[in-house]
Every structure is written in C-alpha cells, then in structure tokens.
Amino acid sequence: SAVISQKPSRDICQRGTSLTIQCQVDSQVTMMFWYRQQPGQSLTLIATANQGSEATYESGFVIDKFPISRPNLTFSTLTVSNMSPEDSSIYLCSVVGYTDTQYFGPGTRLTVL
C-alpha cells in the first residue's frame, strides 16, 4: 500500500488567515483526492486533484476557498483560505494507485479560532 504523509499534522489558526496543507505519497499514483471530516462526522469529498490542471470540485466547494495544486504524481497541496471557525475539521488526502484501492493519509487537524 502507498505511504502517505501530510503536513502539518495539526494547526490552530486565526480567523481570516489561510493554511496550506501538503500531501506527499511515496509512489506514483493515478488519482489524488482531498476530503473533509467535520467533528464527529463522516468524510465529504472536496475535490479531485488533477496533475497539471485545475482541480475538479464537488458541489458546495469552490476554488477560491479551497485552491488545490498537484504539480506531479506524488504531491498535492490544499489551501483553506480566509478561514472561519466553521472550517475547523480534519482534512485528509487520499490516493488511488494502480490496484484501484484508495488509501488515506493521517489527516491534518485544523482548529480555527
């Protein structure tokens, strides 16, 4: 299985600021995704990170709020912009390799004050 790391693992941020979360995988993967998990809830897909092109966002998520980059097959970033307390969540990246199985990173725990 792919080994996925995320940075930072957690952060506490002030309202109105932005945070960029990094996701690094140890092997080339076909697809990368970003999910949000609000406290005590299930996971919700934010977007598909596309290599070399704009991400594909799910309903309710927009590029201005969650800009995503994927410059190569093993790395992606998610920025949470102009944060409010409602953005306090766990943000998870996931990858799909050539076996079609989707693996998740350890998550970034964000608290917005």
Binding site: G40, S42, L43, E58, Q102
Partner: protein
C-alpha cells in the same frame, strides 16, 4: 460525493464475540464497495473491499456481505479484540468508473473487556 447522515451509530461488543456492522448505500449503479476503519486521531485504514459480482468476501477475521437487492453491506468481525475499537465506514464510488467516494455515516465500535 456526499456524506450520509449526521449521527454516529454505536455498537458495543464483548471481547471475543463477533461483531456485525451494517451499512445502507444509496447508489444502485455502484459496483465497488469498501470498508474502512478509523482509529481515534488517524486517517481511515482500508480493511476489505468487494465488487458487485460477489455477495461475500473474506479476509483475515473479517467478512463482507453484499446484498444488492436491498443495497446493504455488512462487515463481520470474528473474535473481536480491543484493537478493533474504532469507527467503521463503508464507502462506494458514485458510478462504475469513478473513484470519488461517498461515505456512509459510520459506526463506532467499542470492545468491552
């Protein structure tokens, strides 16, 4: 994808007993289903998957059953151990080829000594 439900069902079992965790999915076109385990403070961990051309698949101490007629999945854990305590999610892609997962609401499994 969208998450389903806001409430987290709970299941408590005695150590050594068998556990059965249930999941109802919403998309009759889905042909692939996955169970994930999420321990506190960690990202979801892949447990087992099943394709729609099967109704049962076994792994190490786990069995997944699929009933396409009623759109129902179950995860059976044999001889439940304290390390099995976690939240369990079922997930499925919204169409046959996409891998953007929709997650069920999750079940909190607590193993009692």
């Amino acid at each position: 994808g969208e998450s389903v439900g806001l409430h987290l069902p709970t299941l408590s079992v005695q150590e050594g007993d068998n556990s059965i965790i249930n999941c109802a999915y919403s998309n009759s076109a889905s042909d692939y289903f996955i169970w994930y385990k999420q321990e506190s403070g960690k990202g979801p961990q892949f447990i087992i998957d099943i394709r729609s051309n099967m109704d049962k698949r076994q792994g190490q101490r786990v069995t997944v059953l699929l009933n396409k007629t009623v759109k129902h999945l179950s995860l059976q854990i044999a001889a439940t151990q304290p390390g099995d305590s976690a939240v369990y999610f079922c997930a499925w892609p919204p169409s046959g080829s996409a891998r953007q997962l929709t997650f069920g609401s999750g079940t909190q499994l607590t193993v009692l000594p």
